[in-house]
């Protein structure tokens, strides 16, 4: 419930609007009391003011409530680590619940992104403010903290939030959110990004009856890579370094994808602005926790232990019609068929802090096994057991630290890494231990 002093500026504003009616039809004290009552019932402050004004015969047009936030408003771009008592006017770009345990009690917190005309910033709400994507809200008494070199807005017990009419925060100019690739997650909009185009190709599509060329490919910076689609011909070429403003991020088959169009702007930058393509192409090492938080990513490298070889690994047979893996010689769609052999590993990767699924295809499996699929078939025939390969994979790989590179997709079962490369991880253990020793206190 708002404190009395919090609403004083709103009472003043209302009194100004009502003019000479104050003191004649209603006292300031009554206005305050009525306003508080509305707020108690959860009516947004602007609606409450509009309603009260109307009650006393004055119309405040939509969008003109000009309700001053208590204290002056801070733009997100001006928020610094450690700021407190922040007053913001922002649009909720995304909001997600997260369960945490505090003192043995399960608690749901919420995180996501807030945007205004200056920037967009991550936030954490320590209680349920019933925020929904797309809401425009005035926030009072928030604070900011640094979090992995980014600023995060914290909304706690003392934070006040009022929903306001979305028109109070114009969508354009879009909130420019200076991003690095590793910070892109589906739902983000108003993205500003400097990247190098690593590959691009055009294709013809028909959109609303119109023939159009869209350009898609991969772009990257020193933090990672991302697939993109441009719905407008900006004349980009492989190797270009560009700054794109007003892009947004969509989920594309479980992977975040950057999308931009004729409403976005694209500016070519000096080629030195970012590392060369071959350096960016080394791949970006990410933790499993980051992958899970980002809900998938394009072309990442993870270092993790292969903790389990899942059933369904080893020699499998696929339906020649639909490529599904057969169960006992039967395809779910095409019934009894003569299957085509294939070799794969369904694995769980685990780095001690998070775990994800991973699939290794035939070539990688052959390399890790040190034998070809033909040899595997031979072994299976000799032992009259196709599962012999799965057992061998377990015996060779469970517990092995691996370096795996590929695309990570996100679905109902969590994040799955589709491996393009995988090999046993080699680490200089002594020098790593020496590094740790130096950090000890």
């Amino acid at each position: 419930m708002p404190e009395k002093e919090d609403i004083a500026p709103h009472v003043e504003e209302l009194a100004r609007v009502l003019g000479e009616k104050v003191g004649r039809d209603v006292t300031k004290e009554e206005l305050e009391e009525q306003l508080l009552k509305f707020l108690d019932y959860g009516v947004p402050i602007d609606q409450a003011k509009r309603t009260l004004a109307r009650h006393y015969g004055v119309n405040i047009p939509q969008g003109e409530t000009a309700s001053r936030p208590i204290g002056s408003r801070t733009l997100l771009s001006d928020v610094r680590d450690g700021d407190s008592k922040l007053n913001l006017l922002v649009r909720v770009i995304s909001v997600n619940p997260k369960e945490i345990t505090v003192k043995g009690e399960k608690k749901t917190i919420f995180y996501g992104f807030l945007g205004d005309e200056s920037a967009s910033t991550g936030f954490t709400a320590w209680k349920d403010f019933e925020l929904e994507k797309g809401d425009v809200v005035r926030i009072g008494n928030a604070y900011a903290r640094g979090w992995q070199e980014k600023i995060d807005i914290s909304l706690g017990d003392y934070t006040r939030i009022m929903k306001v009419d979305p028109s109070e925060l114009p969508r354009h100019p879009a909130a420019m959110n200076a991003c690095k690739v590793s910070g892109l997650s589906a739902g983000l909009s108003g993205v500003e990004l400097a990247t190098r185009i690593l590959s691009v190709e055009g294709r013809e599509v028909t959109a609303r009856g119109e023939q159009k060329t869209v350009f898609s490919g991969i772009m990257g910076d020193e933090t990672g890579k991302v697939r993109f689609t441009a719905w407008h011909d900006f004349g980009i070429k492989e190797g270009d370094v560009v700054r794109i403003s007003g892009a947004y991020v969509k989920d594309w088959r479980g992977v975040p994808q950057l999308v931009f169009d004729e409403n976005s702007t694209l500016e070519k930058l000096d080629g030195d602005a970012l590392p060369e393509a071959d350096i960016l192409d080394e791949g970006n090492v990410t933790t499993l926790a980051q992958l899970v938080e980002r809900k998938g990513a394009t072309d990442v490298v993870v270092n993790a232990t292969l903790i389990e070889v899942r059933p369904g690994s080893g020699l499998v047979f696929r339906c020649p019609e639909c490529n599904r893996v057969l169960q006992k010689g039967t395809c779910r769609l095409h019934d009894k068929v003569t299957g085509t052999p294939d070799l794969r590993i369904k694995a769980v990767l685990d780095d001690g802090e998070e775990n994800i699924s991973a699939v290794f295809g035939r070539e990688i499996t052959e390399a890790l096994l040190g034998k070809s699929m033909a040899e595997c078939m031979e072994e299976a025939r000799e032992s009259m057991d196709y599962e012999v390969v799965e057992s061998e994979l377990k015996a060779r790989l469970v517990g092995e630290p691996m370096r795996v590179r590929g695309n990570a997709i996100n679905d109902d079962y969590g994040v799955m890494l589709l491996a393009q490369e995988a090999k046993r991880l080699t680490v200089d253990i002594i020098s790593e231990a020496d590094k740790l020793a130096q950090e000890m206190i």
């Binding site: 345990t101 954490t124 914290s154 926790a289 232990t305 001690g352 092995e400 740790l436 206190i441």
Partner: protein, 324 residues
């Protein structure tokens, strides 16, 4: 959706000193061992030296194995319901480097007297290099926890929110606060020395210059705090030292079942009966049928693991399930 449990890396020195068993709020939460440095362990990954494997109890179906790491010794118990793992374990000639994925187990002969062990799910002979990699990784993760514990211990009343402000992840922060709250006395200096020893184990010449091994950072709770009769202690105490030998009947301590879990277990049990036959039900079919009920694959397998823990089902041969 039930997430698959991450296999935690903790040293024996930390794991064996655990005196807290906990569950998250909400139905179907698995039980965890909360270590003194705030790691919540349900699944665990260990690489160390297998020093001995021996049958315990009268029936000879339960085996105990010991795995040594630079800080202490893990105790593993494996029985007839983990036939494949038990066979694998008992056929390894110690000493040998082994990698083990397992589940945390708690043995509580008397209220407040808690001993932890591990029930292996998979075991494999590995080489020294892999053992060293595990020690390195476990050092890194232990150091992270120790840092969070220091911060939490310095706070007058540890708060997750304050911890997160200091850039700790919400999970690390919550677990550290929980550990400070649960352990009456915690000697962080002891674990700092343990960690330094583990680093020196990998690199004997590593200079750890500023480590004050004698400086004890001790968390002491206010005196008015409710104390158990058997006060939890901060130092490792293995089964050997305690002199108590868990019997087969006392192991493993099955976690209490929440109603929802029970319903799923009943459902999966009937699927196994139905698909059963002479060779038992095929694992994949059970999982597939289980998934029809709305669970995902991992959730079904968690239910299967729980049923195995309780001795209600077992794996007569690889990939087959049968009711006990």
């Amino acid at each position: 959706m039930i997430r698959r449990e991450t296999a935690k890396r903790v040293f024996a020195g930390e794991y064996n000193a655990s005196r807290i068993e906990m569950k998250d709020e909400g139905e179907g939460s698995p039980s965890y061992v909360l270590t003194p440095l705030g790691e919540k362990v349900n699944r665990i990954f260990i690489v160390g030296v297998l020093t001995d494997v021996e049958p315990v109890g009268e029936s000879g179906e339960l085996y105990r194995a010991r795995i040594s790491d630079p800080t202490g010794v893990f105790s593993l118990y494996s029985g007839q319901y983990q036939a494949e793992v038990t066979d694998a374990l008992s056929s390894i000639e110690p000493p040998a480097y082994v990698a083990v994925v397992g589940k945390s187990r708690v043995y509580e002969p008397e209220p407040g007297q808690i001993y932890v062990s591990v029930r292996p799910e998979a075991v494999r002979v590995v080489d020294e290099n892999l053992r060293n990699y595990w020690v390195l990784e476990t050092c890194k993760l232990t150091k992270k926890r120790l840092g969070a514990m220091r911060e939490a211990a310095l706070m007058e009343s540890p708060s997750v929110e304050e911890m997160v402000k200091l850039s700790y992840s919400p999970e690390l922060a919550a677990n550290a606060c929980k550990a400070v709250e649960c352990y009456d006395e915690l000697d962080l200096g002891y674990y700092n020395s343990m960690l330094a020893d583990a680093i020196n184990y990998l690199s004997p010449n590593a200079q750890i210059e500023n480590l004050k091994r004698d400086e004890r950072i001790v968390i002491r709770q206010p005196i008015d705090r409710k104390k158990n009769d058997a006060a939890p202690i901060g130092h490792p105490e293995t089964f050997e030292e305690s002199g108590t030998e868990p019997t087969k009947e006392q192991l493993p301590a099955a976690a209490p079942v929440t109603p929802d879990n029970e319903a799923e277990e009943t459902r999966i049990l009937s699927i196994i009966s139905e698909l059963g036959g002479e060779r038992g039900a095929a694992w994949d079919e059970v999982v597939e049928r289980g998934m029809d009920g709305g669970l995902d694959r991992f959730a079904v397998e968690e239910v299967l693991t729980s049923l195995m823990d309780k001795g209600l089902i077992y794996e007569p041969t690889l990939g087959r399930l049968r009711r006990a």
